[in-house]
Amino acid sequence: MNTASFISPVIQALPPSGIRKFFDLVAESKDIISLGVGEPDFVTPWHIREASMYSLEKGYTMYTSNYGLLELREEISKYLARTFGVTYDMRTELLVTVGASEGVDIAMRALLCPGDEVLIPDPSYVSYMPCVVMAGGKAVMVPTRVEDEFKLNPEILESMITPRSKILMLSFPNNPTGATMTAEELKPIAEIAEKHNLVVVSDEIYAELSYGEKPVSFAALPGMKERTVLLSGFSKAFAMTGWRVGYIAANPDFLAAMVKIHQFTILCAPVTGQMAALEALRNGETEMRRMVSTYDQRRRFIVSGFREMGLDCFEPRGAFYAFPSIKSTGLNSEEFCERLLQDAKLAVVPGTAFGPSGEGHIRCSYAYSIDQLKEALKRMKQFLATL
């Protein structure tokens, strides 16, 4: 039996994740230190873990509503209102998902017809393009540039719009670049969305990790709520990656369509995770702010470290990534990362793992202690001196 021949051509044609390839390389190495991790170094705050254990003791082990626990949706609704000034009805406009990742998938599947185009900032998170392709859409990568601090440039965006353009994917604060966009900077993007009648799927999983700026939601821009599918979750802000709990906020029509897919494929997000998320929203904001201010300190530390050793590094104002340029070394991103790993035992991720516009850059996570960052910067500096 030729098992490989049974695989769907769509899946066969999907390129494997560039991260995966690099992960395998790193996993084989010894004594490395890594700035390659895309999740908080903090363990989920204890009160959240404790609340989930208590829910198990009380016997909360059943399915919840397809939409997720109503109490949780109520807290999400309040949280979005107080944090971003945007209001969603907990019964018809909110869905609890298995991470924001599920949100990307079901948003695309609910909205795309074969051949519809989705505009995706490049570089950005690795799952957008595959989710678009698996939903039968066409991914159109919109380059972002270091001279724009990797913000989405309205002119470049508009030049790539065609009659088939249906969705604009937004991902700010951005993984891997750390770029953010202020309400002012999003305004021309909103105008383009309106002019070309685009749906905006906005992945705001890193919104709380905005430094020196108030977190913005695209849905809070005037007139944008109706055309926005807001994706977020608890992974980054509350250090809850492994719990896999996220949510979608969208107009009732979009939401009902996504709930259809969700109910037949997922049924509901795990109840223990939902209980943990409930505790996070009720009592977790103080601890969240403490983590955010710690990331901010590390952010300044790593950016200043890169600049001191002569690497160009624009100032990232969100998420927990710095995205320095390594063009001055004459190496491309992949070569640089492979040699850095071999020679200096330091793992960072090539910018190209997140799209072609990441070429010439490397993603360095600063979700590490200052002492670990110091050691990593030391290795980087020594490595640069050998080039």
């Binding site: 994740s17 999740e39 170094d41």
Partner: protein, 164 residues
């Protein structure tokens, strides 16, 4: 320097006092000089009292016994508990002294080489101080957590080395 920034410097030092003023300046977007001056100021005002290292002495193989003593005191006119507290905290064996609400007045942490050592100190030195009415000695058997640090079972980094 804003109040939150001042508090951040103190919090950073309380967490890790091996960071240099240069490090702290970088972390908070300040000049090194500002941080140096602020720390100097804090030391002078005795807001920063000491740069400590927390050591697990038991694991280091050091023979050491600690006891918490509940001390009941007859307060003195005009000076309250302070004079008695001072008579107690001047002894080098005494590590901590707190004035407490509730069933007794002073909580005293004593360090000694052996149980006998500590018991002798309580009987001979502490209980005999004027206005000390009674003492109750509780020996520490095991330390699980001190100064917000858990002694065993430190949470290690369980993340994958590379993830998207």
């Amino acid at each position: 320097m804003t109040e939150p920034t001042r508090r951040s410097i103190l919090a950073i030092l309380a967490e890790n006092n091996r960071l240099t003023p240069e490090d702290i300046a970088t972390m908070l977007g300040l000049s090194t000089e500002e941080v140096v001056n602020f720390i100097h100021d804090m030391e002078e005002q005795r807001i920063i009292l000491k740069y400590n290292t927390l050591i697990n002495w038991e694991k280091a193989g050091e023979e050491m016994v600690e006891a918490l003593i509940d001390v009941r005191v007859q307060p003195q006119r005009e000076v309250g508990f302070d004079t008695v507290a001072e008579r107690i905290y001047r002894f080098p064996e005494v590590q901590n002294v707190y004035l407490m609400s509730g069933g007794y007045d002073l909580s005293v942490l004593i360090q000694g080489k052996s149980m006998k050592d500590v018991a002798f100190f309580v009987a001979e030195k502490l209980a005999t101080i004027d206005y000390v009415q009674s003492t109750a000695t509780h020996f520490v058997l095991k330390k699980y957590k001190q100064d917000a640090v858990i002694f065993e079972d430190q949470e290690e980094d369980r993340r994958l080395v590379v993830s998207p």
